[in-house]
C-alpha cells in the first residue's frame, strides 16, 4: 500500500476509533503512532515529541489558558448574573424580553470568553429557571441559550481562531477583527427571529411579571450603569487593543484576565473559594483542549508526512466544479463532520487538507477561515455530538434532550443561512480587518 493511501486508511481508522467513545486525544496518538511507524519508522516518535513540545513553546497558544482564566473569573464573579438582573429590570415588560436579554448577555459574554461551555452553563443557570417560571416556550428557550452560548467560540476572543491563525497563515488579530461582524450578524439574526416569533405568537414568550412595585427609572439607570457598563468596558478595552493591533492576543488575554480579577474584587462578589474554582477550571479546560490540540496536530503531521493531504487536494481540484461550488462542498463537508466530531480535529486535520485547495482557487484565506468558523458553530448544535446540548441538559435537567435538539435545529438553519450570506458578500468579513489597517 502506498503511503498516501495508508494515510487515508489511518483517517478512517481514527474516525472509527473516536466512535468507540474513548477519549479522542489518546485515540489520535495511538492511530498516528501505528500508521506513522509503519510508514516512516522511528521518525514518528520524534514527530510526536516535537509536536507536543512545539505546543509547549508557543506564545500564541499561551493565550488559550489566559482567555479561559478571564472567562472563568467572570463566570465565578457573579457579574454576569448582575448584568442579567439589570437587563431584566429594564427590559422585562417587552414581549419575548427574556430572549432579548439572553442574547444580549450571550453576546457580551461571548466577547469575554473564548469557549462555549462556560457561556451555555451560565446562561442555562441564570435564564432557564425564569423562562420556565414565566411560561416561555421550551424549545425556543433551549435553542436560543444553546445557540447564543455557542457564539463564545466565534466572537473574539475565540480559542478556535487562536488555533486557526498559525494554521492558515493569517494573524490571529485579523481573524478576530474578521469574526466580529459575522458574530454580531448571527447574534442579531437569532434575536430578530426569536422576537418576531414571539410577537406573532405571544405564548412563546410572554412579558415578565414583577412581584411587588416595578422599579423606577432612576433605579433602572443605576443598575445598568453598575451592572453592565464596567464589564462591557473591560471587554471592549481588551478586544479593542487586539483589533487595533496595539497588543498581541496573548498580551491582551493577560491584561483582560487581570482586569477581570480586579473588577470582581471591586464588586466584592469574588471570595477565595470561587477564585480557587476559577483557577482549577482553567487548568482542567486548558489541559484537555491543549492535549487534544497536540494529539490532533500529531495526527495531522503524520497524515501530511504520508502525502495523503496532497492526494485529497489533487482529487478535489481535478473535480469539474466552479470555485464557489467547490467552496460550498468544502463547507458542507465541515458541517457534516461537525455532527460526530469536535472542532479541534476538524480544524487541525480536515481544514489543512482544504487549505491548498483554497489557495489554488485564489480565495482570501481570512475570509475562508471565518466561513469555517461560522460553519463550525453548528458542530456544537448538531447531533450526535452536540456539546452545547449536553452542557445545557447538565444545568437544566427538566428540559428533555428531544426538546433541546428540536429547539436547536431552527438556529442551525439560521447559521447556514448566514454562511451563505457571507459567501455571497465577503465584504462583511473583510471590511473590519481592512479598516483596522492590518490587511
Amino acid at each position: 500500500m502506498s503511503n498516501p493511501v495508508l494515510g487515508v486508511v489511518s483517517l478512517v481508522v481514527a474516525v472509527l476509533g473516536v466512535l468507540t467513545g474513548f477519549p479522542m486525544a489518546f485515540m489520535f496518538i495511538f492511530v498516528a503512532l501505528v500508521f506513522g511507524y509503519a510508514a516512516i519508522g522511528d521518525q514518528v516518535f520524534y514527530l510526536l515529541t516535537y509536536q507536543f513540545f512545539g505546543l509547549m513553546t508557543s506564545v500564541e497558544l499561551a493565550a488559550i489558558p489566559l482567555f479561559l482564566f478571564m472567562g472563568y473569573v467572570l463566570e465565578q464573579s457573579g457579574l454576569m448574573d448582575r448584568m442579567f438582573e439589570a437587563l431584566r429590570m429594564t427590559l422585562g415588560r417587552l414581549k419575548g424580553s427574556l430572549y432579548l436579554i439572553v442574547m444580549l448577555v450571550a453576546t457580551i459574554f461571548a466577547a469575554a470568553t473564548g469557549i462555549v461551555g462556560a457561556s451555555v452553563t451560565v446562561l442555562g443557570v441564570m435564564a432557564a429557571p425564569i423562562m420556565i417560571r414565566s411560561g416561555y416556550d421550551t424549545r425556543m428557550s433551549a435553542g436560543i441559550i444553546a445557540a447564543g452560548g455557542t457564539l463564545g467560540i466565534l466572537i473574539p476572543p475565540s480559542v478556535m481562531l487562536i488555533v486557526m491563525g498559525p494554521l492558515m497563515g493569517v494573524p490571529v488579530s485579523d481573524l478576530f477583527a474578521g469574526a466580529i461582524v459575522p458574530g454580531l450578524i448571527l447574534s442579531a439574526v437569532y434575536l430578530v427571529y426569536a422576537l418576531v416569533r414571539s410577537h406573532l405568537n405571544p405564548a412563546l414568550g410572554p412579558p415578565l411579571l414583577y412581584e411587588g412595585t416595578p422599579p423606577g427609572g432612576w433605579q433602572k439607570a443605576k443598575e445598568i450603569v453598575l451592572g453592565v457598563v464596567p464589564i462591557a468596558t473591560v471587554i471592549m478595552a481588551t478586544l479593542g487593543l487586539i483589533i487595533a493591533g496595539v497588543t498581541t492576543p496573548t498580551d491582551a488575554a493577560a491584561t483582560g484576565a487581570f482586569a477581570s480579577v480586579v473588577l470582581s474584587l471591586a464588586y466584592g462578589r469574588m471570595g477565595w473559594s470561587r477564585f480557587k474554582t476559577a483557577v482549577f477550571r482553567t487548568l482542567e479546560t486548558s489541559a484537555f483542549i491543549m492535549f487534544l490540540i497536540g494529539a490532533a496536530n500529531f495526527f495531522g503531521a503524520v497524515f501530511a508526512r504520508l502525502g495523503s493531504g496532497t492526494l485529497i487536494t489533487d482529487a478535489l481540484t481535478s473535480l469539474p466544479l466552479p470555485p464557489t461550488a467547490m467552496l460550498l462542498v468544502m463547507l458542507f463537508v465541515i458541517f457534516v463532520l461537525g455532527g460526530p466530531l469536535e472542532w479541534i480535529p476538524i480544524v487541525l486535520v480536515v481544514v489543512p487538507i482544504f487549505i491548498p485547495v483554497v489557495k489554488q482557487l485564489g480565495f482570501d484565506m481570512l475570509w475562508f477561515g471565518i466561513l469555517v468558523a461560522v460553519t463550525l458553530q453548528s458542530s456544537w448544535l448538531t447531533p450526535p455530538m452536540a456539546l452545547s446540548a449536553y452542557f445545557l441538559k447538565g444545568v437544566v435537567p427538566q428540559w428533555s434532550m428531544k426538546n433541546i435538539y428540536i429547539g436547536m435545529v431552527q438556529f442551525v438553519v439560521l447559521q447556514l443561512a448566514v454562511v451563505l450570506v457571507l459567501v455571497k458578500f465577503p465584504i462583511l468579513v473583510t471590511w473590519l480587518p481592512s479598516v483596522t489597517g492590518l490587511q
Binding site: G21, F22, M27, S58, S286
Partner: protein, 184 residues
C-alpha cells in the same frame, strides 16, 4: 450481603485508586496556580513595554514555559475528572457494564501502548536535554529549556498512573454493572 456490598466499591479498591490518583491531583492543584504569575508576568511586560517603553527580555519565555507546564501537568487530572472529550453517543446506548468492558479493552490495547511509548520517547528527549544543560536558541534570553522538557515525561508518568486508576474503576463497573461514583 454480597449484593449490598457491590453497591459501593470496596474500601480497599477506593484506597488503591486514591493512592494512584494522588500524584495527578497533587501536581495539578499546584500547577493550576501557575496561571497567577503567568498573568502577572505578562501584565508587567505590557506595562513596561507600552507605558515605559522598556520591554523585558524574559516575559514571553516565562509565558510559554508556564502555559506549557500548566496544560501538560493538568492532563492526568482532566482524565481523572472525565473531561477529555469523548464522542460517546454510541456508547450511551450500552449498559454501564459493556461501556466499561470497551473502555478496559481500549485502555489496555490503545491507551497504555500509546502513552507508554510517548513516556519512553519523551524521557529520552528530557534526559538528553538535561545532560546538555540545553538552552533555547529561539529566544534572545536563551533560557535553560531542560526543565520544560522534563515536564513531558512527568506528564506522561502521571497519565500512566491515572490510567491504572481508571482501569481499576472500569473493572469494578464491568463486574457490577454500576457506574463508578465520581471522585471528589
Amino acid at each position: 450481603m454480597a449484593e449490598a456490598g457491590a453497591r459501593t466499591p470496596p474500601d480497599a479498591l477506593l484506597a488503591a485508586i486514591r493512592l494512584l490518583e494522588f500524584p495527578s491531583v497533587a501536581v495539578a492543584k499546584l500547577a493550576a496556580w501557575v496561571i497567577v504569575p503567568m498573568t502577572g508576568a505578562l501584565v508587567y511586560e505590557v506595562v513596561s513595554r507600552y507605558i515605559f517603553d522598556r520591554p523585558t527580555v524574559w516575559a514571553y519565555d516565562i509565558t510559554y514555559m508556564m502555559a506549557g507546564t500548566l496544560f501538560m501537568l493538568g492532563a492526568a487530572y482532566a482524565l481523572r475528572n472525565g473531561s477529555h472529550v469523548r464522542a460517546d453517543f454510541l456508547l450511551t446506548a450500552l449498559s454501564p457494564k459493556w461501556q466499561a468492558i470497551i473502555d478496559l479493552v481500549l485502555y489496555l490495547g490503545v491507551y497504555f501502548p500509546a502513552i507508554g511509548i510517548f513516556f519512553w520517547v519523551s524521557l529520552g528527549f528530557a534526559v538528553q536535554s538535561v545532560r546538555q544543560q540545553e538552552t533555547y536558541p529561539e529566544s534572545p534570553w536563551m533560557p535553560a529549556i531542560y526543565p520544560l522538557k522534563i515536564v513531558m515525561p512527568v506528564t506522561l508518568a502521571l497519565l500512566l498512573l491515572q490510567g491504572l486508576a481508571e482501569v481499576l474503576k472500569a473493572q469494578w463497573t464491568a463486574r457490577t454493572d454500576r457506574p463508578f461514583p465520581p471522585s471528589r
